[in-house]
Subunit: 157 residues, 3 copies
C-alpha cells in the first residue's frame, strides 16, 4: 500500500480545477506524494497570464486566442454567464477566506505536488513549454500510467 495520489485534470473549469488542487494540497499536507497530470482543457490552468512570444501556425494562434490564458481567466462549469459567475464565485471565496486558484497552485508547488503537462495535448493545442508556468514537468500517457500504478487513489477530473 502506497501513499501516492494521482489526478488527471482534463477540465479547464475554475470550479473543477480548484477542487483538484484542494484535494492535492490536502493529500500533500497529510504527507502523500501527489502527481497532477494536466491534459486538454486542463492545460489552460497552467498557462502564464502574460502572452509569451512563440512561433505558432494559424490554427495554434486561434486556439491560443480562444482559450483562457491561465488560472485567473478560467470560467465555471455551470452558471458562468460569460464570466460573471466566475467573478462572483471568486469574490465570495475571497470573503470566506478560501484561497484563490493562483494561491492554491503556488501552495501545491511549495508542498512538492508534481504538476505535469501532457505533451500530446500540448502538441494538439499548439501550447509551447515557455507558455506554461515555471516548475511544470512534461510527459505523456505512459508516465501517467506508471505513476497511477504506484498510487492508491487515482481520479479523473
Amino acid at each position: 500500500m502506497t501513499d501516492k495520489k494521482t489526478m488527471i485534470v482534463f477540465s479547464g473549469d475554475l470550479d473543477k480545477v480548484m477542487a483538484s488542487f484542494i484535494i492535492a494540497n490536502g493529500a500533500a499536507a497529510m504527507g502523500n506524494e501527489v502527481t497532477m497530470f494536466f491534459t486538454f482543457w486542463g492545460l489552460n490552468a497552467l498557462r502564464k497570464a502574460k502572452k509569451v512570444k512563440v512561433k505558432k501556425d494559424f490554427m495554434e494562434k486561434m486556439f491560443g486566442w480562444m482559450m483562457p490564458r491561465g488560472a485567473e481567466k478560467l470560467g465555471l462549469s455551470k452558471m458562468n454567464f460569460g464570466g460573471i459567475g466566475a467573478k462572483m464565485m471568486k469574490d465570495i471565496m475571497k470573503k470566506k477566506n478560501v484561497n484563490s486558484l493562483p494561491e492554491l497552485i503556488e501552495m501545491a508547488q511549495m508542498m512538492g505536488v508534481k504538476i505535469v503537462a501532457c505533451t500530446m495535448s500540448m502538441d494538439v493545442m499548439g501550447i509551447k513549454e515557455e507558455e506554461l508556468i515555471d516548475g511544470v514537468e512534461f510527459a505523456g500517457v505512459a508516465t501517467y500510467l506508471g505513476e497511477a500504478d504506484e498510487a492508491n487513489v487515482n481520479l479523473f477530473i
Copy 2:
C-alpha cells in the same frame, strides 16, 4: 485489500448523480462499505425540496435561489432544454421501472451508504446544515482522503 468504495459527487446533473447512486447502491448490495462525498454542485442533490428558514446574506440568498433545490429539480448534463430533457428522462425511467433519484437516495440511506456533505463547499455556497436532507454527515477534505486511503475504488463524478 478492502471492500470500501468512495465517490466524490461534484456534479449536480441528474444523469451523473443518478449514475453515482446506481454504483453506490450496487456496491452496498454486494456488501461493500460506501462513502459518497458531495461537494460543490453535487450539494444541490441533497437539498430539501421545501425552503428552510435560515439566515443568509444577499449573495447566499441569490445562490440558493439560482441553484436547483433538491434531487427532484436537477437538470441533465446534456440536452436539458430548460428542464424538458430532464422531465422526459424521468418519464422514460419511470416507464422502464428504473428507480427515481429520490428513491435511489432513500435506498442508499437504508443500505447504510454514508452520505457526506463537504463543509467548505457549503460555506462557499451559503448552504446550511438544516437545508440538507436528514441523515447527511458533514466533513472536509481530510475526512475524504482518510476514507479514500482505505478504499479500493475511488471515483470523481
Copy 3:
C-alpha cells in the same frame, strides 16, 4: 497488486472519449488488462454509423435521432459551436498524426481492451444490441464492480 484498469465512460464528448481510449490503449500496450464500461451518453461512441433497422417506440426513436450516431459524430465538451469545433479538432489531430477516435477504438479492440455497454442505460435510451459496433459486450453495474474490485486504477470519465 493487479495490472488491471477499468474506466466508466459516461461522457459522449469527443475529447473525453478520445482521452479514455488514449489511456486504455496506453495501458493495454503496457500489458495491462483494460475494461471500458460505456454508460449513458458514452454509449453514443459505440453506435454504428449506419442506421440499423430495429423496433423502437416513439420516445426511443426520438432519442436515437437526437443523439450522435457513432464515434464520427461526437461533439466537443467545450467550444463545439454546433460541430465546427469538433471538425477543427479532428483536422488538427490528423495534421499532427494523432489517431482518430474510430482508429483508437479499432486499436483498442485489436489489443484486447474489453468494451462493455451498460445494459440498463441501453434500455433507458432505447439502444438495441444490433445498433452497437461489433465486439461490444453487454453487462450491468454488478459486472463493473466485480472488475473494478480486481483493478488498481479505476476512472470515471
